[in-house]
Symmetry: D2
Subunit: 362 residues, 4 copies
């Protein structure tokens, strides 16, 4: 595995779906910063399973235990280690998949890579549960960024065939992000949110699943962050967003749409706004040449439908080397997208803070 | 800058559009491998400017000088350094943009990041010219992969509003890749290719530009490559593909389309094919859990329209802190997409070889 | 901080002397390997405080809690996280040193670097206590190496003015290492060991401290490990050995002594021994050009005397910006050298395994 | 190989003794800094072969060609690539050693690691010639450090049995460094220098070689540089100093001597000197807990005697699998130590600048 990430911020994520605990170590955070625990808890709750009827019935309170890195109530420069106990684990549910890999899951590739020794229980370290420590780490970064005037927000851009509106690429900011979070599903257009909930509910009723797209914006950034060619903002964000299971695509600014435009349509004119260089449109998504322009950084990530569905599926028996049928039981999300929204925010926060060399202390 | 990349393969890319030379250092290649120079030259020609009426009139033969890493005609374990002279450089063309940044270019962000000391000539190290050493490095990797039975091919998926067909996600392989390369533009459907050429020509005539999408496939891969969470195949490929200027999005397998599907539609059933585990469809694009399945690895990259266009554009004067108009002169591609095709192949080859820990020698 | 280390093995060490726990994450270990817990415990005990009258009276059982990375009793490919609770912590002992830095300690440099927010309790993350997770990680690596026929052993080369004998540089191996461990202090010459114990005891009685040198040998290595120029065996071992507090020097093979020899004395003739290339002497310490020769890899590390002594010392008050006296109370080792012996073995094991690219599973 | 190094400064070194050229890429240097070419040349001359009768008769002018990274006479933020042509190469001299490895050289380990495909000519990439690009890169860093008030100097501490004096560990600075450089050999005590020259000359006359120790000091450092545990100043400096061929040991401050002292002797009292915290002695060598204290950073490196000697030596024939004699001809230094002095300064400068996160531009 490669469970280590980062240049200025160093992150190590560990744990399996049903190991004793999962967690993260984060190094490079500024000493003296005080984590708002209640705020972090509230951020974690946005990702937690068992929160609404729309997600898996597995219940975890995801309470963070601060193992190290804090002294006198503030970050102390030593690596921050946070662990989260796995309480509602049911290892027995998954034994079958080590031999009969679930279509769309990592069961088969894990068996090849780890020689059959992988932890197949609950998807092991491929489980979406590993996004909890990612959120813990990213949640701390979000607070540090906020302290520097940077806010990060995401909403569901689409689920199945239902599309939400988009953030205003020029003006998106904290109030928009806050508004989205007040809704049952994090969307701009509440009617779209209701239709999405209906699609998820229908998929669940039919033992099927749906996917979607998440849009994320980072507002309040200074110009000049990002290190091209290989640690530009796009490279950096992509390198961590693809660590979130089920993400199969990412685009920045206009993204794939820009491929159909002409330069005269896609270029964003520069202008002055109160002594500050801005662009009057933001098709570039706040990044030019891999470096932030100071405009909102905007990207979208495609999330595939949860592969765990109720219908019988064709697979193989690795031990018997023949084809067979498989029915996946157990507790599964009919749609991972709503819970992935804070994960995307966390990943964005980590990537931005990683691009921001800062003093060792406040 | 962060011009270093890789874990098992280490890559350093250097140079500016109008520096004395550009080049790459590649470490970690297997000693004893003999580079087919003529084949590498031919690969480089697919990227070279001045090849057809569709691209920039700047002419560079892009002849590679092998500075180090070769002994007795074979790789010797020492880092391979290759340099390419900049012959047809015209530094004078660009002086204006240091103060009046071109919309859609890195002129502004470079000025902020490097305090006005950036090499603004020809876009400096943000220039598409830097993809030449990327192609040199990737071209060598392509040959090493071929020696291991792996082939890499890409085609133009779309330019402006014209779409090509897609590679067969289950059966794509070397013959398909070869066929595509025989066409004036690298496409599957020659009629689409003709229409694309027309769009490019029209954009040029109108002093404008067009973008497009490139699809890439890697065939013949073993199962088991890739190191999740952070060096899975998607993370790895994305981290290098976004080093190619103008790329604004990437998707794997079904990508953004999968977000609109149900799990029952998107999951690929496992099956046996002559003792080998395969999937009967390939919506997953050859990657599950960040690890190769052995099916063709498929991804698409969105390329924005070249920002250099003839029309007058709104920008600012950084020194005078006021808005002004700018007309970009000089030699520019109306469409970078055809020349980006081998760059995408090169990036894919580097990423795949980087995920493939191999002996120090043949 | 930079608490992350490694290329093929990735290590993250976290914790402070008096934080809730300390621990390590290790990634890249071969799936399927079964850790011998009892053996690991016994290795940890060699480092543990409170073991004999010669060390600090602080008592910690250093029981390892395996948080993740194990499934069905074997390593599963996911990162191994191990934590060790801090039970006998007495944070109150150290508050004074945040303002009045102890001579020879990191109190002052930590205050500068972390702006006064460092955890000054017990030395925070500069404490020798952080070598416990290093030993846990290295202890696992030692077992994996043993499984490959490689054994690692260290002994006290000197304490104060008392010198032990040296390992036979050509023939040193597991039996020698085992013999050393049977002694009250890990030495070759038991008479020297007794004299060392006397020096330590005398230093303690006088409220002072003594330092020493540790010699380490790695036997059974294949030729060919190590990646010059920057990840050769010397670079690699030094980069982790200097993470052990109080180490101020390292030398390989003949080391500083070779500086006084002639080439004709220092060169080791090559010979054949049963079809295997060997050297008849081993002044090179098993490393030529940064790469193992297959002869025992031998190095020595200098450990300074523990800076915490009873005598009053001159220091400054950072807040009052004036000079003052300081008397260090609390529990301290009069000599850290005996407990550093397993730490050096652990560091060597980590460095060797890091240089040994191996399959993902047994 | 692992020819890449660094965190904040990224370095790639390439080339073989007899390849077309050798060179280095350095990324992360501050844009806007103007390299003093004449000064760099003069620094390079201190390392160059053929300078005096005491070194190898191979003559290279080591003129640096600046390939990239400079614009308008100043660093521009893009990676600096410098190459040095190999002019006086005589590949024919070395063919024998691929089969009959020279004792004390990397011939054997290279053959094992690279499967016989290594460039054995002149030691290939194991050659001391590779320290030329290290000096080019380090020479630039020295100038940048000087601009920040930091100076680096080294002298020969000993050759064979002749010892020089030592830098004053508390007061060493630029004037001392300059004085040393005025001498025929870089020493403090000119009488010792004369005796050293005699030892070298005698070794040459007898076809033998001698080694020595180099002492290096870095003055003018701020307190607070260095990132423990794994990127502390000792780890960082060691990781690059061991890239210099023939270095077999390193010690900081009192180093191995401190192992024989008591804490009460070795501890350095803190004091105030004009509002600045200093230590009244400097046994700690300017580093506590891996972090600079602001006192001169002092280390010593042991350099083994050049393994190439005239006397017949015992070795093996790898192809015939039997023992044989070998007589090494060709041009060789009877003592590498004088030429290694600027290499050590260069390595120190790179390590210090790497620990110094700084703005992207002046």
């Amino acid at each position: 595995m490669s469970s280590f990430w980062g240049v200025n911020i160093r992150l190590s994520v560990f744990g399996q779906s049903h190991s004793e605990a999962i967690g993260a170590v984060v190094d490079g955070l500024p000493a003296g910063f005080r984590i708002d625990i209640e705020k972090l808890r509230s951020f974690m709750r946005r990702r937690a399973p068992g929160r609404s009827g729309l997600a898996t019935p597995r219940r975890e309170d995801d309470e963070i235990e601060f193992v190290s890195g804090i002294s006198q109530g503030a970050l102390c420069g030593a690596p921050l280690c946070m662990i989260i106990r796995n309480r509602d684990a049911r290892p027995g549910d998954y034994s079958e998949f080590a031999d009969a890999p679930r279509p769309g899951h990592a069961d088969y590739t894990a068996a090849v890579k780890y020689g059959g020794f992988q932890d197949s229980s609950g998807g092991g370290h491929f489980s979406g549960r590993l996004t909890a420590p990612l959120c813990a780490a990213g949640g701390v970064c979000l607070q540090i960024l906020e302290d520097r005037g940077v806010s990060v927000g995401a909403h569901i851009q689409s689920i199945a065939d239902v599309a939400d509106g988009r953030f205003d690429p020029v003006k998106a900011g904290a109030p928009d992000f806050e508004r989205v979070r007040q809704n049952p599903l994090p969307v701009i257009d509440t009617a779209a949110g209701a239709a999405m909930a209906e699609r998820i509910e229908r998929a669940r009723a039919e033992g099927d699943s749906v996917g979607g797209v998440i849009e994320c914006a980072v507002a309040g950034l200074p110009a000049g962050l990002g290190d091209p060619m290989f640690d530009g903002m796009e490279n950096r964000i992509a390198s961590i967003v693809f660590a979130i299971p089920a993400v199969k695509g990412i685009e920045f600014g206009n993204g794939f749409e820009s491929a159909g435009l002409r330069g005269s349509e896609n270029n964003d004119p520069f202008a002055y706004d109160g002594g500050r260089v801005v662009t009057s449109t933001n098709n570039h998504g706040g990044i030019l040449g891999g470096i932030t322009t100071g405009m909102p950084l905007i990207f979208r990530a495609a999330v595939k439908p949860t592969p765990s569905i109720r219908a019988a599926q064709k697979t193989v028996s690795l031990s018997m080397k023949k084809e067979r049928e498989l029915t996946v039981k157990g507790r599964h999300d009919p749609c991972i997208v709503p819970r992935a929204v804070p994960c995307i925010e966390a990943a964005a926060a980590l990537a931005v803070l990683d691009a921001w060399p800062a003093p060792n202390h406040k």
